[in-house]
């Protein structure tokens, strides 16, 4: 089995960050787990960093000595295109696809690319985290605001989007040009968050306008943004994936995490088993494992089921009332996000806000 020391893991994460941006045509990273001579090989394609998902895979493989798992890490848009091509050409590709760009996964399921599966564990999932018994939400990750502990004074820490708006309102605000968020044209996840924000509240329009006025930075990739905040390049990052932020925070105390208390989007990475999967029973076993108490614990340890969402977590004052949590449900309504014309309209407005470097 492949084992990684924590330092190696950070190194790997660093490499990933470097590779994360840009339109990569091939997978960004591949790792094999399990014995070389295993009888069964399970191919998992995911947008999640290998380093983060590795302990979960290791736990799964502990009880299955004859299984080898090939983990391919992809950018969300590439993963979507590849899965779609495999599906429509009826080519076997991955056995499991896990993506944070759930709207793309909904689209794939809508196009009859997934195979159906039911078990006691999948039935126990809430309706919003399950669609057609072909798509399941396996993680719980909030979209958070990250700030630099040293550079943002205690009083300035925004607890809500309105606080952030207030920070950006003065014409001589020191946060001008130092707020970062995803480039939604580059990042599927960023687009999804922005789109969900637009659906959720009118605040987003004002926020967008403020971002534009204060020349906020739109850039790519969670790790990049978080590191920028830690190093003081940015003071505040908006809509960063909580799991990455918390993982980074465990290594680097310089950042603070806020779950916006007006509402917090909660992403569940979606898992589907492509209809052409070669190892369907094994893929189903993997799904059941992820939903079982054992797998849930592993995901929790990997911060993919975020401790931030639980009241007893260590972060001071971060517990939220459950009404402020807005899970991004797996429903066909997400297809709107992927519609060509709608996306164009949405992006046109975005580009008007961020004229580009």
């Amino acid at each position: 089995m492949m084992t990684m020391t924590p330092s190696l893991r950070i190194l790997l994460a660093g490499i990933l960050v470097l590779l994360n941006c840009g339109p990569a045509a091939a997978q960004e990273m591949v790792a094999d787990f399990g014995p070389e001579d295993a009888g069964q090989v399970l191919v998992l394609r995911s947008t999640t960093d290998i380093a983060i998902f590795e302990p979960v895979v290791e736990t799964f493989l502990q009880t299955r000595p004859t299984v080898r798992l090939r983990y391919e890490q992809w950018g969300s848009n590439e993963l979507y295109r590849l899965s779609r091509r495999d599906c429509h050409s009826n080519q076997p590709g991955a056995d499991i696809v896990i993506s944070s760009a759930v709207h793309q996964m909904v689209q794939l399921v809508n196009e009859a690319c997934a195979s159906s599966y039911r078990s006691r564990l999948t039935e126990e999932l809430p309706g919003a985290l399950r669609w057609r018994n072909e798509l399941w939400g396996i993680t719980r990750e909030p979209a958070v605001m990250v700030y630099n502990r040293d550079l943002v004074p205690q009083g300035d820490i925004p607890q809500t989007r309105f606080d952030l708006l207030d920070l950006l309102r003065p014409s001589d605000t020191r946060y001008a040009g130092r707020v970062a968020t995803y480039d939604i044209e580059e990042s599927g996840l960023g687009y999804l968050f922005a789109f969900a924000d637009a659906q959720e509240a009118s605040t987003f329009g004002a926020l967008q306008e403020s971002f534009g006025r204060t020349r906020a930075i739109s850039t790519c990739c969670s790790a990049d943004i978080i590191r920028g905040v830690a190093e003081g390049q940015y003071l505040i990052a908006y809509n960063v994936l909580g799991s990455y932020a918390q993982g980074y925070q465990q290594q680097d105390e310089r950042i603070g995490i806020v779950l916006p208390s007006d509402y917090t989007l909660v992403l569940s990475r979606a898992l589907m088993i492509p209809k052409e999967a070669r190892q369907k029973p094994l893929a189903e076993a993997f799904l059941d494992f992820l939903l079982s108490p054992e797998g849930t614990l592993a995901l929790r340890t990997a911060l993919l089921i975020s401790p931030l969402l639980e009241a007893e977590d260590g972060n001071e004052g971060e517990s939220l009332s459950s009404t402020a949590l807005r899970p991004i449900g797996l429903s066909p309504a997400l297809m709107v996000a992927l519609d060509g014309l709608t996306r164009e309209t949405f992006l046109r407005r975005w580009r008007a806000t961020f004229p580009g470097p």
Partner: protein
């Protein structure tokens, strides 16, 4: 097959009703199930069609024109509307004025047979699953964009089908309950219908074996038929029993005197020594035994008549044949050779429905009465009088006096027929025959100073071709 028919005939009424109800329930159940399913499908179809139409209209109204190009921001509300069918896949396609797909699935094919596609619904497929689509058109008449943009929204049919099944299932529950109610009702009805039969059977089996009185006819009309037939049967049985009883007692009574007389004569004969007196006694014994023989004949013929009257089948009989037969048998010539007997029959048949041997017996008795008591010439014949068929015997005497006639009549009516002299027995036989075949015995003087004994019957209905 005959085996089956026989078994079918012996099937109990309960089983028949059960079979009938079962067949009714099965056929009715199938029909209602099909109807319920059709209704369910229709209901689901119209419900979800409206959702589709609503979503399509929603999307159509979100289309705007900017810089001569249609701009669409798909309303999430439309998709949330469609998400009322939570597990169904959604297809949509927006077609511009020039026929190009602006957005959505190009895979969605428009129905080919309709050239001028209007707003409405059509069935199609969506990635290999059957689907249902709605089309909504929106016309634009802008300076820069003129034409119709069509919005097609479709969905797979999972929710429709499950709703249709749901409606069907609920209808079937109702059906099952009403079927059960029908079965219960059928049981109650069958029991109440069969109760009179059971009561009749019970009262029959509880009856005294000698009790032939009619049964109570206060029963349902359908079973009354059976009771009436049963009562008729019992009445006939009763009549026959009575006749037999009378015959036996009459016979015993009537035979006792002549037999005792014979024995007395025989005793006298054995005690007598005088030859000439012995001869006289022998003579007397001879007349007595001849009379006894006649009496026996008559009694047997009465028994025959009584028996046949109830049991023989009624046939079409020409009374002229009866008269002719009796005349030709010529008993009268043997018994009373000194009396002239004339046969008087016409050319037209005189037909009645009766039993020929009984009639013959009756006529013979009337004839022998006339020969014994009447005066020559004696005429026998058959004719139609006043719409009645009549067979008669006439003689030139005055007949019995009025008082005797009255006595005879009342005796007949009382039924005590035979307790008198042999002439009375002869009349009794004739009377029995008349009554047996719904006729009457008439004894009266004719206007030609003659006495006539006649049997009147209804004329048999004309023979149909």
């Amino acid at each position: 097959m005959p085996e089956l028919m026989r078994r079918l005939e012996m099937t109990s009424l309960t089983a028949r009703v059960a079979l009938g109800v079962a067949v009714l329930l099965v056929i009715g159940g199938v029909i209602v199930s099909i109807a319920a399913f059709a209704y369910g499908r229709e209901a689901a179809r119209s419900a979800f069609d409206r959702l589709l139409l609503g979503a399509a209209s929603d999307i159509a109204s979100a289309i705007t024109v900017q810089d001569g190009k249609p701009v669409i921001e798909l309303p999430v509300s439309a998709f949330e509307l469609l998400a009322f069918a939570p597990d169904d896949r959604i297809g949509y396609r927006i077609i511009g004025p020039d026929g190009t797909t602006l957005t959505g699935y190009e895979e969605i094919a428009l129905p080919e047979n309709r050239r001028d596609l209007r707003d409405g619904y059509f069935d199609g497929a969506f990635f290999g699953e059957p689907g249902r689509y709605a089309i909504v058109s929106r016309r634009f008449a802008e300076r820069t964009l003129n034409g119709t943009i069509r919005v097609i929204v479709g969905q797979t049919m999972l929710a429709r089908n499950s709703m249709a099944y749901d409606i069907t299932r609920k209808a079937l529950y109702v059906l099952a309950v009403s079927g059960l109610a029908m079965i219960l009702l059928a049981v109650v009805v069958v029991r109440s219908v069969l109760t009179p039969l059971e009561r009749i059977a019970g009262s029959l089996s509880a009856r005294d074996p000698h009790d032939l009185t009619p049964m109570d006819t206060a029963v349902p009309r359908e079973t009354a038929v059976m009771i009436n037939a049963l009562n008729g049967f019992m009445a006939r049985l009763d009549r026959q029993m009575n006749s037999m009883r009378h015959l036996i007692s009459d016979t015993a009574h009537q035979l006792r005197t002549p037999v005792a007389a014979l024995r007395a004569q025989a005793d006298l004969f054995s005690d007598e020594v005088d030859l000439s007196r012995k001869e006289k006694i022998v003579e007397r014994i001879q007349t007595r035994s001849a009379g006894l023989g006649r009496l026996l004949d008559q009694m047997l013929s009465q028994a025959l008549v009584i028996h046949r009257g109830d049991s023989a089948r009624r046939e079409r009989v020409d009374l002229r044949d009866i008269a002719l037969d009796v005349f030709e048998e010529g008993d009268h010539a043997v018994l009373n050779p000194e009396m002239d007997v004339v046969l008087d029959i016409g050319e037209n048949p005189v037909e009645v429905l009766a039993d020929a041997p009984s009639l013959k017996e009756a006529l013979k008795n009337l004839l022998s009465n006339a020969l014994k008591h009447g005066r020559a010439p004696v005429r026998i014949g058959a004719s139609l009088n006043d719409g009645k068929a009549v067979i008669w015997v006439e003689d030139a005497g005055e007949g019995p006096d009025r008082q005797t006639l009255d006595e005879l009549g009342s005796r007949f009516n009382r039924g005590g027929l035979a307790r008198q002299a042999s002439s009375g027995l002869g009349l009794a036989i004739a009377h029995s025959v008349a009554v047996s075949f719904d006729g009457e015995l008439v004894l009266e003087p004719t206007d030609r100073e003659q006495f006539r004994a006649a049997l009147l019957f209804e004329v048999a209905p004309a023979r149909t071709a």
